[in-house]
């Protein structure tokens, strides 16, 4: 269609130039020699060929013949030719024009083809550049088909890759493949699919290009539309090889990423198992040690030591229970089953609940409660916040040196908030580690342990829309602070 339109355009241009030149020469035609006008009439023919190709050129030659004969060869306005040398001029004009038209047309088409090939090569080079970049596979595939589609001016391009037992279109550009065309390369039941055999069939104006890298079939490129010329075919083949390599590279990269991810998951799982077993066995070690000492009749244990061993067993059993609760909470949070049921409650009640009536923490660490008396009620889920406090107290007790106390304090914070803090006299947390302390499975500096308590504290507070952070305690230890929302009723009934 395009060549036809070009022909018409060329013919119009030829006719227009011819008309213009003829009108220009008409007033002076009697003064011009027959040869001069013939030379001038070369111009419209060349113009027509350049714009419209050979067909427009032939039209211009015919028109030029008529105009030359009728207008410029005497006797004017008739087809008859007077002098015999005028006959020679006319014949030579037509012959030369035909030659000029064919030569210029051939030059033009070569130029156009070269231009097109250059365009294609440039696009392919650009694509090669893009393929080197680190892009995800689906994007690479889309890029490939759209470039082939544009570079070769095709009607449709589809890239088919082996998916499961058959071939599937993974990316396409232009008209989509019809059901029938897809079936043509799809394997039939019971017949093993082979990229190699599928590459042979070329029904209607479709062409199938096999993509193979390092001797291994990678996929198929199915193209529909005007078949590229011999140069185009060569280019297409080179391009197909490039494609195959790029595809293989992308596939290998995806594979490597997947393997890396799997390894990371496995590493985390191992860390989890190790950490959980560490945290479970630590209290168990004390329980078993104390119980076996009590159990052994041959061991002389005094009454006060006996009662301390019993107390240790109880205390460590509680610790174990809290750990199990925490681990269950982790799995509850992971399954998204965490619900927050808030009600107004006093901070001091939360602290008492967390202590479970104790005045001393595990390891015989004393607790000081310093909650402001006029503190408003807070609107929280008491189960969750009690767990937060218990975990923070547990953590503080673990790092409190013998002879020091742990302090729980509560005071007004920013408007609408109460600030609660748990403070110990331990070594404190270095500024750089303060973020990581709340991450799962990181007990700072220790050889194991899940650190699950702190990460749960953070998660539970986040569920209330509140935050937790670490400060330096005035005495040099760690101070874990968190905020709680003031209950609305507090303003009405203090």
């Amino acid at each position: 269609m395009r060549t036809g339109r070009r022909g018409v355009e060329g013919s119009i241009v030829g006719a227009a130039v011819m008309a213009a030149l003829t009108l220009a020469m008409l007033p002076v035609r009697t003064h011009l020699s027959v040869a001069t006008t013939a030379l001038v009439l070369v111009v419209p023919v060349v113009a027509a060929v350049v714009v419209g190709g050979l067909s427009a050129g032939l039209f211009a030659v015919a028109a030029g013949f008529l105009v030359y004969d009728l207008v410029f060869i005497p006797p004017y306005d008739t087809l008859s030719v007077g002098a015999s040398q005028n006959w020679i001029a006319l014949v030579v004009y037509v012959a030369v024009m035909l030659l000029v038209a064919s030569v210029v047309a051939r030059l033009e088409s070569t130029r156009a083809e070269t231009h097109q090939r250059e365009q294609a090569v440039r696009r392919l080079f650009e694509l090669t550049d893009l393929l080197i970049e680190d892009r995800p596979l689906p994007e690479v595939l889309e890029l490939i088909v759209s470039t082939v589609h544009d570079a070769f001016g095709l009607r449709s391009v589809a890239l088919m890759l082996p998916v499961g037992p058959g071939l599937e279109v993974v990316a396409s550009a232009g008209e989509p493949l019809s059901e029938h065309q897809q079936r043509a390369v799809a394997p039939s039941p019971g017949v093993p699919a082979s990229l190699r055999s599928a590459a042979v069939g070329t029904p209607d104006d479709f062409q199938t290009v096999a993509l193979a890298a390092t001797g291994r079939p990678i996929g198929l490129l199915r193209i529909g539309g005007p078949a590229p010329g011999p140069h185009g075919q060569e280019l297409l083949r080179t391009f197909a090889n490039q494609l195959a390599l790029a595809l293989e590279r992308a596939q290998l990269r995806e594979q490597a990423l997947r393997t890396e991810l799997l390894e990371e998951v496995e590493r985390l799982q191992r860390a989890l198992v190790r950490a959980v077993s560490h945290d479970l066995r630590t209290p168990l070690a004390t329980i078993k040690m104390a119980a076996s000492t009590l159990h052994d009749d041959g061991v002389a244990v005094g009454p006060s030591e006996r009662s301390e061993l019993v107390r240790l067993i109880e205390e460590q059993a509680d610790r174990l229970d809290r750990l199990v609760t925490n681990l269950l909470d982790v799995s509850r949070m992971e399954s998204g089953a965490l619900e927050v049921h808030t009600e107004p409650i006093a901070v001091v009640d939360l602290v008492q609940e967390a202590l479970g009536g104790r005045r001393r923490l595990a390891g015989d660490v004393p607790v000081t409660i310093a909650v402001d008396r006029d503190l408003p009620l807070v609107d929280v889920d008491h189960l969750l916040v009690t767990q937060v406090l218990a975990n923070l107290l547990d953590n503080a007790a673990r790092y409190a040196p013998p002879g020091t106390a742990v302090t729980v304090s509560g005071r007004r914070g920013d408007p609408g908030l109460v600030e609660v803090a748990v403070e110990d006299g331990g070594p404190g947390v270095p500024r750089a580690e303060r973020g990581e302390v709340f991450a799962l499975f990181s007990r700072s500096g220790s050889g194991g342990g899940t650190g699950v308590g702190l990460s749960i504290a953070r998660a539970f507070l986040a569920a209330h829309g509140q935050r937790i952070w670490i400060e330096d305690a005035p005495g040099g230890g760690a101070r874990f602070c968190f905020t709680l929302p003031v209950a609305a009723v507090a303003a009405v009934a203090p």
């Binding site: 077993s277 066995r281 004390t286 078993k288 030591e305």
Partner: protein, 228 residues
């Protein structure tokens, strides 16, 4: 009265151990960090060290290696994660024994006794011409072996293997320790070959059920000094 140094960051376990071991007649010294542990190992001159691997400041393996640089005190390593590679690393790093938490008082006491005894015996074994481990007698000069009084014929390497285990009687020897010593430094990794030698030794010693020459799967072997 034997003095035990316990290095563990878990205060509760320290107290339980202090009471339990104290009741058994041990003099108990405790340390809550690796650094304290190293200091106490030098200052308190303990007869045995019980060392937890998961310490807050230093890796327990590192503590063990540092103590080993200047002291031959027996070290029993405790771990709560019980992974085999940590166990092997601890033993290769100079620990005498390894226990996974939790453990009972009876087990700990038995290990403490063995550790002290074989460390004392090891001191003598360096210069000894004859060794006796339970029913086994070894003449290191004439390469003669008697099991329950009966002479046993051994090849050179079988004898070398048995002599190595007898010199470290009671101690769990890792594959690497045995291979380094008996097969030499360029042994590659002939664990399979070691397995075959142990199998033959057991047959010759009449210990097919492995109660005397005990296997610790994946870790190493041990000549048992006290039954049960």
């Amino acid at each position: 009265m034997a003095r035990v140094l316990v290095v563990d960051d878990d205060q509760a376990l320290l107290r339980a151990l202090r009471i339990g071991l104290g009741a058994l007649g041990y003099d108990v010294v405790v340390a809550g960090t690796g650094a304290q542990g190293i200091t106490q190992a030098a200052m308190a001159s303990p007869d045995v060290v019980v060392l937890d691997l998961g310490l807050p400041d230093l890796d327990g393996l590192e503590v063990c290696r540092r103590i080993r640089q200047w002291s031959e005190v027996p070290v029993i390593v405790l771990s709560a994660d019980g992974t085999e590679d940590r166990k092997i690393a601890a033993l290769d790093g100079g620990a005498d024994d390894y226990m996974t938490k939790p453990f009972g008082m009876g087990e700990l006491e038995a290990r403490l006794r063995v550790a002290q005894r074989h460390r004392a015996a090891e001191g003598d074994a360096v210069t000894a011409k004859e060794l006796a481990v339970g029913p086994l007698e070894l003449d290191l000069v004439h390469h003669q072996v008697r099991m329950a009084g009966e002479p046993v014929e051994l090849t050179t390497r079988e004898f070398a293997l048995l002599a190595f285990l007898a010199r470290h009687a009671g101690k769990l020897c890792t594959h690497r320790m045995i291979l380094d010593e008996v097969w030499g430094p360029h042994h590659g990794s002939q664990t399979d070959s070691l397995r075959v030698y142990v199998y033959r030794l057991r047959r010759k010693l009449g210990d097919e059920d492995g109660t005397f020459l005990r296997t610790h799967p994946g870790v190493g072997y041990q000549l048992v000094t006290e039954p049960g």
